[in-house]
């Protein structure tokens, strides 16, 4: 076997290994989870600490937590990215400081965010164990990813656009809204998807903030159990809860897939509206 062939075989082996692990994981969840999946599973409340019944309130809580997280993190993240990339000099002390802090924050374990969220949102701001606390904690957690990807997307847009718009006497903000942001949309959407993915899969940060309560939430100030917390609880603390855990995991994967495709669709739509692609 020549060196070239060996390389090819090795690369293929890697690819097969990586996708193999993923497929195995997915197949495991589908095989074990599909049996319990039915309409009633989606709408009913959990019974017998989740061994039977459905996950209706948990899906609602999960969606609400994600909604709170995205609605607060997305505008804040985008604004910060714009500030960093368009309105501060790249080598300024402020810019460097913020960037460094964000990189550190992005690597902080989620349990630390959970404790912070508990201390700040639940206790200090008096929000208690609530969907709001959980969502805001997740927002803090995904902000670094959101800001850095959006900022990189903005930085990657051609500087020619900035010069050409300036030379036409246009303001920086209209250059931003008409050209730079639309050109950075794919990066912003990718950051958003990463953020949603990370938030949706989060357990540790939510246990201390949005809590365990598996009843249907009446408002954002109620405690609500997220899907990931539910899965964790079923598989760790509830004997005989494995079947429900599998089904819930499957639902979580489907949920994330749906959210991702909606986000992609919206990004594409927006991109298409503001930029002509031929």
């Amino acid at each position: 076997m020549s060196k070239n062939e060996l390389t090819t075989v090795l690369i293929w082996l890697m690819a097969v290994l990586v996708s193999g692990v993923f497929i195995w994981l997915l197949a495991d969840i589908i095989i074990h989870g599909l049996s319990k999946l039915s309409w009633s599973f989606f709408v009913e409340s959990p019974q017998n600490v989740g061994r039977s019944g459905g996950i209706g309130p948990i899906i609602v809580s999960t969606l609400l937590i994600l909604l709170v997280a995205i609605v607060t993190a997305a505008p804040l993240g985008l604004a910060t990215a714009v500030l960093l990339s368009e309105f501060t000099r790249h080598d300024s002390v402020f810019g460097r400081f913020v960037r460094r802090s964000l990189d550190v924050l992005a690597g902080v374990p989620s349990i630390v965010f959970g404790l912070f969220g508990n201390a700040f949102f639940c206790i200090y701001l008096g929000l208690g164990f609530s969907i709001l606390s959980g969502g805001l904690t997740l927002a803090c957690m995904v902000l670094p990813i959101l800001i850095r990807t959006a900022e990189e997307g903005l930085q990657a847009t051609p500087n020619d656009y900035r010069l050409a718009t300036a030379a036409l006497g246009m303001s920086r903000s209209s250059a931003l809204f008409h050209l730079l942001l639309p050109a950075a949309t794919p990066a912003i959407a990718a950051g958003l998807l990463l953020g949603i993915g990370r938030a949706g899969a989060e357990t540790a940060a939510l246990i201390f903030t949005s809590g365990y309560v598996d009843r249907m939430p009446d408002s954002l100030f109620d405690s609500g159990r997220a899907l990931s917390v539910h899965i964790y609880d079923l598989s760790m603390n509830v004997a005989g809860g494995d079947a429900s855990a599998y089904s819930s995991a499957l639902v979580l994967i489907i949920l994330l897939l749906i959210i991702n495709s909606i986000a992609m669709g919206l990004a594409k739509h927006w991109l298409h509206r503001s930029i002509v692609t031929v």
């Binding site: 718009t165 036409l168 008409h178």
Partner: protein, 273 residues
Amino acid sequence: MNDTYTLGPLQAGPPCCDPEPLIRVENLSLHYGTKPALEGVSLDIYKGCITALIGPSGCGKTSFLSVLNRLTDMIPGCRVSGNVHFDNRDLRNPALDVQGLRRDIGMIFQKPVPFPLSIRRNIELPLREHGMSKQADLNEVIQRVLLDVGLWDEVKDRLESSAQALSGGQQQRLCIARALALKPKVLLMDEPCSALDPISSGVVEDLIQRLRGKYTVVIVTHNLAQARRIANYAGFFWVKERAGCLIEFGQCKQIFEAPAHDLTAAYVNGSRG
């Protein structure tokens, strides 16, 4: 005498009958950080004339142009000193309405920069920004400027399609049309033909010829034959002690036929630079 030139027949456009300075530059210096790029440049740009700036690469021609429309503001670490006046406006005044200035002094870049929008939107965007919002007015301006740059017949059926699908020459003419739409008084052109094939380049050159009298044009070009064909005035830049400076400025005919400076003579004859 003619044998010394290898650049083709000389047609230095008509000297401006009544040279009236529109932009006055006195003792201009420009630094990038601590590195000097221009040192002690003084010249007048005459109204309605075409002024060509020639000189080797890196002698500060682009930097000079970006002083005139304050694009230097966008470059971190760029410092300008000296006096620059345009139409009684002090261009170095920090409180100057820069957006208004850039509306009066348009700029064309070496590489065409069409926005990733439709051909129509490319021209509309800056116009809307400057307060024109009636679609009928916009359409009229779009048609006029596209006719001016000779692009109308080529694109009138595809105004809604992407400007980035145009050829390089068409893109450059669209950029010129976009600048003309704002009715500038001065047009700064930084090597507008250098990325174009000879035919597109010829079209753009004819266009610049037709701008004479209606607009004041400052054009940077490495194409000496082109400078001789179109310019009324010419300025020759050279790098001295690591900083660009203006060696000679005068009527195009004089610069090319009877240069006062040895360096100019060597450069225009093609033996240096």
